[in-house]
């Protein structure tokens, strides 16, 4: 840590603070594109600062990954700024976009399918130690994936004011009906576990089946939300 120069790190921190202030300013002024573009510039500058800092600290060519993450966020903000400007200048009503909640449900569904699909593909015949490691890895991957996807969703979502809007009666109806659907799967999952133990199913398999049922309940919940939002909740 002592080898890392202070100036680039301070510069990177200042850039990030400027980005947050710009975003706040844009949110209040309802002129989101300026905030997005300032934010993109700040992240691009922070990427350069981080790369220089790491290069000086390492005494050679450092890993490009941290800077690439910053540049990716900068590109995302730049795209969001372009969309925001186009929408603000457009006459008439904006297109019938999905709400943030609907997009979030779609992301949750896709992330669960991807992460736990991958986990269950290898976990069935794995030893308990390997399965536990794979499970922890799956949970960490899911959290990281969901945070990254929701940050991207929030940045790209328009109009900006939609993000913190409370749910309305349609959101509540969709949520209640989706919970009802998932409840049946969850109840079945609750009762299958003692039956599996009575039937002498190996504990590792029983736990995996139980976990699969819990994941299935979540899939039913988010899948129902997506379906009700698209096809109607009546």
């Amino acid at each position: 840590m002592s080898g890392i120069p202070l100036a680039p790190l301070l510069f990177a921190s200042a850039c990030l603070a400027a980005c947050l202030l710009a975003a706040l300013h844009a949110y209040r002024r309802r002129l989101p594109e300026r905030g997005y573009w300032l934010g993109a510039l700040a992240f691009a500058a922070a990427a350069a600062a981080v790369w220089i800092g790491l290069a000086v600290a390492a005494g050679g060519a450092p890993s490009l990954l941290p800077s690439a993450i910053y540049m990716g966020l900068a590109a995302l903000l730049a795209v969001a700024g372009r969309r925001a400007r186009r929408l603000r200048l457009a006459t008439g009503e904006p297109p019938a976009t999905r709400s943030f909640r609907e997009n979030s449900a779609l992301v949750m569904l896709a992330a669960l399918l991807l992460v736990f699909g991958n986990y269950f593909r290898g976990a069935w015949d794995a030893s308990p130690e390997t399965a536990i490691g794979a499970f922890v890895g799956a949970v960490v991957s899911l959290v990281v994936l969901l945070i990254a996807a929701h940050v991207a969703l929030a940045v790209l979502h328009l109009p900006v004011g939609d993000l913190d809007a409370p749910g309305d009666e349609r959101d509540r109806a969709v949520d209640l009906k989706s919970q009802r659907n998932a409840y049946w799967v969850l109840t079945a999952a609750f009762w299958t576990f003692p039956f599996m133990l009575i039937a002498a199913v190996p504990l590792a398999h029983a736990l995996n089946i139980w976990l699969a049922e819990l994941v299935l309940a979540e899939l039913v919940y988010f899948g129902s939300m997506v379906a009700y939002y698209r096809l109607g909740a009546d």
Binding site: A96, T97, S99, D234
Partner: protein, 74 residues
């Protein structure tokens, strides 16, 4: 006794345009719902609560049965 399948149709889009080309966002703000909910109502994918229907009627200065009607399809 067979249960009748019912469907509620509405004239929300028509009434919006009759009231100074009111936008979906403006109507949504007056009723207190999201714009996507107005879109869903206009497309027949969501039937609003009685309270929202009454607020909508107030926004259009008309009665609820001028906005919504029940289509019985047997």
């Amino acid at each position: 006794m067979a249960r009748k399948k019912s469907r509620v149709s509405n004239r929300v889009r028509e009434l919006r345009f009759r009231h100074g080309e009111m936008t979906q966002q403006e109507l949504a703000e007056r009723i207190g719902v999201a714009r996507q909910t107005i879109i869903a109502i206009e497309q027949g994918r969501f039937c609003p609560s009685l309270e929202s229907a009454l607020r909508m009627a107030a926004a259009f200065e008309t009665s609820v049965d001028e906005i919504f009607s029940l289509d019985d399809t047997g």
